[in-house]
């Protein structure tokens, strides 16, 4: 809400510079978002008086005006059609900085005296546009006749406008008076009231002038009928205040309703009574599909739960939202019916939402207005209208208010201030702050008893002790609040098992060279399409039926509506992006995937870790002459490291088939029957789909929840520090070419028994010497015993056993 400080000063003199006031209010909860000064740049611009206007000797469209401004007397040449002798104008002298009206883009220009068609112009009479007040440039700005000639224009017309953010609880401060009340409380200055018309003294009018058929949605409706209205443009001061507050002046009647809305927070509406059939008001629910053309010239259809203002026959306004064109005030209007009513917040909110019509009125009603404000606003608007339309008079004033709202009490132990805030406020301070805010306070038992606070009805946000406590705390200010640490019991602190596992896995991945990424949780259809598996499921290590995946109703632009069942597609986008500048990209992410459980229920949020590797394995350096691409075995090594960090026992890799992966380079990692991970190189077509055209992309995804369920046993075991030297032996095993290395390894481990401490496969060889259908795998086995040095006899025995087992289990023989 934009608040011109001069307007605020009608109510309170804060005795502070606007910036300081804005800061104080901000600290008290009324956030000033920005402060603008109008007239800050009006140096060398004064209030001038036009003594005479003469024709230009050489130009029909120009005139010469003799203007004075204090000791300055000058003649200016102007083409303004509206300049006339006797006017007060804004006169700019040489050196003034004015907005250039001939420039496409807004820019300031310094005024210099110049010759216009042979006559010297010593200054300029300004339009609103030249002063930066508005876009008005048809004629010059004509000032109020009371403007004091010779004073700087900024003193007369300049103002500071502070824009406040009105949070939903601040309905009581959604007006100039409301903010003035806050300013009075913060500064301790008195609050004034503006003049009002005494409606009680007005004739009551016909008994059926106003009828409320829906009292549940309309607690109060006050109507004032004013005859003898002359619709005309508003006077300067009114138009200027509205403009400064951000509203466009329309005519005196509409402007008064807007002015009072801004001033008091109560939306008002003026009907042309001649266009109200039956001349009366009925507040009722709309008929189903009832039509109305609103002031924005939209044809709208209403439903039976929307509240309308109707005349004897038809809806003439959507209550609390917008009026209808049929009863709009026009130049021909002479009698207005002024509405100042209260409508239920939920009803207005619903209607505004359904009609997609948010107005200044609905924004206020939606927050829950005080019904007692309606009569105040009617009286204030009536005063202003009578003032602006001499000869007009009130012929009827009707106020239907069956159940008046009265102030309520909040009672609580005074000691609660200290319990909540941690400060024992002196009782006098509490009383003084609350009274400045308009609350009644009683402390019958002093600081040791209860405090009884009577809440003014405009403070709909204050209903419990804590609300009152905040009022005191915010006005006193939080600068004096001490910092203490919570005393008392500390609950036991546990470490979350999945978080611990994630930490270990993350450390392993980072240690293996991956940068951790954090990517968006939603993906598009096309990103996810390649990640299909049997039965139209989507995902990688975990998956779900494509049709059941969770979708956003309102995805961000770019259409990524699906909550992802796999992290890989989102990471691939980042890989592609990074490959534009980085020779190799290793990314990992630890995040959740969203797996549908049952319809309309929360999904299972499964914890997974994903790895994507692409580019050259080693950085460009003098050590790596041959830039080998990262491939399956790189990601497998990273997966091994991660699984080891996760404490996974006995991982087995099996060939795997998945639509997104290379048919010959993909595996699943299993522990027993549980799949804990999927890894492989991306299918080249899928990689190309993500914009990775050349080169391999190795990916993996691990199911951390499964790993947690499997491993996890970190209870103590016996760890004996090695004391005897180990013995290493190499075994070159010749097997059939198609025999998986893992099977040979399993046979070796089984045969080697408990003395085996380490096993490494370090050579794979195929060649004529061993036969075309064979391969040779060379392992180095390391043996050790915790309690003795191994003897040659033991090792020879083990070797014999290995030889036998290899022959039996994998048809292998030892070479060399």
């Amino acid at each position: 809400m934009r608040v011109p400080i001069k307007w605020l000063r009608d109510y309170v003199d804060p005795r502070l510079a606007p910036e300081e006031l804005a800061h104080r209010l901000t600290m008290a909860g009324l956030e000033a978002e920005k402060t603008e000064r109008t007239g800050a740049g009006w140096d060398h611009v004064y209030v001038g008086f036009v003594h005479d206007v003469r024709p230009h000797p050489n130009a029909d469209r120009l005139v010469l005006a003799d203007v004075s401004a204090g000791e300055h007397r000058l003649t200016v040449v102007t083409g303004a059609p509206n300049v006339a002798a006797g006017q007060k104008v804004a006169i700019a002298l040489a050196g003034a900085r004015l907005w250039d009206t001939h420039s496409e883009t807004p820019q300031l220009k310094t005024l210099k005296p110049g010759m216009l068609r042979g006559v010297k112009s010593e200054g300029m009479v300004c339009s609103e546009k030249e002063l930066g007040l508005s876009d008005e440039h048809e004629g010059i700005l004509v000032l109020d006749p009371g403007a004091p000639e010779g004073v700087p224009l900024a003193d007369w017309l300049g103002d500071t406008v502070v824009e406040f953010e009105i949070t939903p609880n601040l309905v009581h401060a959604f007006s100039v008076r409301g903010i003035a009340r806050e300013a009075a409380a913060v500064t301790g200055q008195p609050l004034d009231e503006p003049p009002r018309f005494d409606l009680d003294a007005a004739p009551p009018g016909a008994g059926d002038l106003v009828r409320i058929d829906a009292p549940d949605l309309c607690p109060r409706y006050a109507a004032v009928v004013i005859e003898g209205i002359t619709v005309a443009p508003s006077p300067d001061w009114l138009a200027r205040r509205l403009t400064a507050a951000g509203l466009r002046p329309i005519n005196n009647v509409v402007d008064v309703t807007n002015y009072v809305m801004l001033e008091l927070g109560q939306p008002l509406h003026a009907f042309d009574r001649a266009n109200l059939r039956g001349g009366r008001i009925v507040v009722r629910r709309a008929g189903n599909d009832e039509p109305i053309e609103t002031l924005d010239h939209q044809q709208r259809r209403l439903d039976g739960e929307m509240l309308v203002i109707a005349d004897a026959e038809r809806a003439v306004a959507v209550a609390g939202v917008m009026g209808g064109v049929d009863s709009e005030v026009s130049a021909a209007t002479t009698t207005v019916l002024l509405e100042s009513a209260n409508f239920g917040m939920a009803s207005v909110r619903r209607t505004a939402r359904l009609l997609k019509l948010r107005t200044d009125a609905s924004a206020r009603f939606e927050r829950g207005l005080d019904p007692n404000l309606a009569s105040d606003a009617a009286a204030r608007a009536t005063h202003l209208l009578l003032d602006l339309c001499p000869g007009s008079r009130v012929t009827a004033a009707r106020d239907v208010y069956p159940s008046p709202v009265v102030p309520w009490a909040v009672r609580f132990p005074f000691s609660r201030f200290e319990r909540v805030v941690g400060i024992a406020y002196p009782p006098e301070q509490v009383v003084s702050v609350l009274e400045r805010l308009g609350f009644g306070v009683a402390l019958p038992g002093g600081a040791g008893g209860d405090v009884i606070v009577t809440v003014p009805t405009h403070r709909t946000d204050v209903t419990i002790a804590e609300d009152v406590i905040e009022e005191v705390a915010r006005i006193v200010g939080y600068e004096g609040l001490p910092d203490t640490l919570p005393a008392g019991r500390t609950p036991p602190v546990f470490r979350d098992p999945i978080a611990l596992l994630q930490r270990r896995v993350r450390a392993a991945l980072v240690g293996a060279g991956c940068y951790e990424a954090i990517t968006y949780v939603s993906v598009s259809e096309s990103m996810l399409a390649p990640f299909d598996s049997i039965g139209d499921r989507r995902g990688l290590v975990l998956d779900a039926p494509a049709a059941d995946l969770l979708r956003l109703v309102n995805p961000m632009p770019g259409d990524r509506p699906i909550l992802r069942p796999t992290l890989i597609p989102s990471l691939l986008e980042r890989v592609a992006e990074n490959l534009k500048h980085a020779p190799s990209v290793r990314l990992c992410e630890l995040a959740r995937v969203y797996l549908p459980t049952e319809p309309d229920a929360l999904p299972r949020e499964a914890n997974v870790a994903a790895i994507t590797l692409s580019g050259r394995r080693e950085p460009l350096s003098r050590f790596a002459a041959d830039p080998l691409p990262l491939d399956f075995f790189d990601v497998k090594g990273v997966v091994d490291a991660a699984l080891a960090a996760a404490g996974a026992p006995e991982v087995e890799y099996r060939p795997f088939t998945h639509g997104a992966l290379h048919p010959g380079r993909a595996a699943e990692a299993c522990v027993g029957q549980t799949r804990v991970g999927v890894l492989g190189e991306l299918h080249p077509r899928v990689a190309a789909g993500f914009g990775i055209e050349n080169g391999r992309v190795a990916v993996a995804e691990l199911d951390l929840d499964a790993l947690l369920a499997l491993g996890g046993d970190r209870s103590p075991v016996e760890v004996r520090v090695p004391k005897f030297l180990p013995v290493s032996q190499d075994f070159a095993v010749v097997v059939a070419k198609q025999t998986p290395a893992a099977e040979v390894e399993r046979a070796l481990r089984q045969a080697a028994g408990p003395l085996l401490t380490d096993l490494a496969l370090f050579d794979v060889f195929a060649g004529e010497q061993i036969g075309d259908d064979k391969k040779s795998l060379t392992f180095r086995l390391t043996f050790a015993s915790p309690d003795r040095a191994l003897t040659d006899a033991e090792l020879t025995k083990t070797r014999g056993k290995i030889e036998k087992t290899l022959a039996q289990r994998v048809g292998g023989s030892l070479r060399g």
Partner: protein, 354 residues
């Protein structure tokens, strides 16, 4: 003294003199080895001479043997000394030949790094653990019940509009991407009795157009403490502690009244800018203060909603924006970098935060 012994002595003396003279000019390991072979080796001269002792008479033999052994010891010692000197010179020559240009680049290990958000969450987790706060996690896909209703944000209230909610398709229940980590307040309190001290780090989502300071997915850290005597001053104390651990020991925390439906009184809190010392700079937008997040005393309606007695228990809650904290601590100027995951940014942040 016989003739034979005289001859033996002469030969021995001659051998000794020649050997020492030859040793003095041996100046590399090969010459040293040749010398050793020639004089002290199994087929060397001295060994030969000792073998000749048998030709002497029994009376002459002991004296001659002693003299020969003395020469052997002398030559052996001289060899050892000379050998060490020659070896040392030779090693030095070898090392000199082995010298490298130490300014050449080293073999770079392949290093990764945690995401800056992870690091900040971990750092905050440590700081709060020291103050007795347990880290808990909650669902990112939430019901309207937990995300709004239990937090005193009823569906017909305009306060609900403040959160630009991303909604998940659902026929029955209202399901959303959580707009804040606050739903875990209610979930935690439903599951435990006071005292409660938890922090909740995690992702949160708002339907918001992206720009340098807005991102639709971001990370928050929620804090909650409930017990019989928790006050707003305790909240300020905990946040001051946080600010000092994170931004330096001199930092001050400022509270400003603000509105959040689930706290009353509600505040937003700021820390004085460590970069400019409060004088105003780009990072603090010339205000001298860095706004960190919202906080306040848990609203009695929230306490009652989870079955806590608000007359007996009070509590505080606060919410921090993780990306915001990183941006303020390190002067990062575009929030979109966090989901952008550009390796250049991640590397730079890893170095900064190390």
């Amino acid at each position: 003294m016989t003739n034979a012994t005289t001859t033996f002595d002469t030969t021995l003396a001659d051998l000794r003199d020649r050997a020492l003279a030859a040793l003095a000019v041996a100046d590399d390991p090969e010459a040293m080895a040749a010398w050793e072979r020639a004089y002290l080796g199994a087929k060397g001269e001295l060994t030969g001479l000792l073998r000749g002792l048998g030709a002497l008479s029994a009376a002459e033999r002991p004296g001659a043997g002693r003299a020969a052994n003395a020469v052997k010891q002398e030559l052996t010692a001289a060899f050892a000394a000379r050998n060490e000197a020659v070896a040392s010179v030779s090693l030095e020559a070898q090392l000199a030949a082995d010298a490298i240009d130490v300014t050449l680049p080293g073999r770079a290990p392949i290093l990764g790094a945690e995401h800056p958000v992870t690091r900040m969450v971990a750092e905050l987790g440590e700081i709060f653990a020291l103050m007795g706060f347990q880290t808990v996690y909650g669902p990112e896909v939430e019901t309207g019940h937990y995300n709004f209703d239990l937090l005193n944000i009823p569906s017909d209230h305009p306060a609900r509009d403040v959160w630009d909610t991303m909604i998940v398709q659902s026929e029955r229940e209202e399901i959303v991407l959580r707009t804040h980590t606050s739903p875990m307040q209610a979930r935690t309190m439903e599951q435990t009795e006071p005292p409660v001290r938890v922090i909740v780090p995690g992702r949160a989502y708002r339907y918001e157009a992206q720009d340098a300071s807005h991102e639709w997915m971001f990370h928050q850290l929620e804090g909650l403490a409930v017990d019989e005597r928790i006050t707003l001053a305790d909240l300020k104390g905990v946040l001051t502690e946080l600010a000092r651990q994170l931004f330096g020991p001199q930092r001050k925390v400022r509270f400003r009244c603000d509105f959040f439906p689930f706290v009353e009184p509600g505040v937003d809190f700021a820390v004085d800018c460590a970069i400019c010392g409060g004088g105003g700079c780009r990072v603090c937008k010339q205000t001298g203060w860095l706004e960190m997040g919202g906080a306040g005393m848990v609203h009695p309606r929230v306490l009652r909603g989870v079955g806590y007695d608000p007359d007996r228990y009070t509590g505080f809650a606060f919410g921090l924006g993780i990306e915001r904290m990183i941006m303020m601590k390190y002067g990062v100027d575009d929030v979109r970098a966090f989901a952008g995951n550009d390796l250049r940014f991640l590397r730079r942040m890893a170095r900064l935060a190390a």
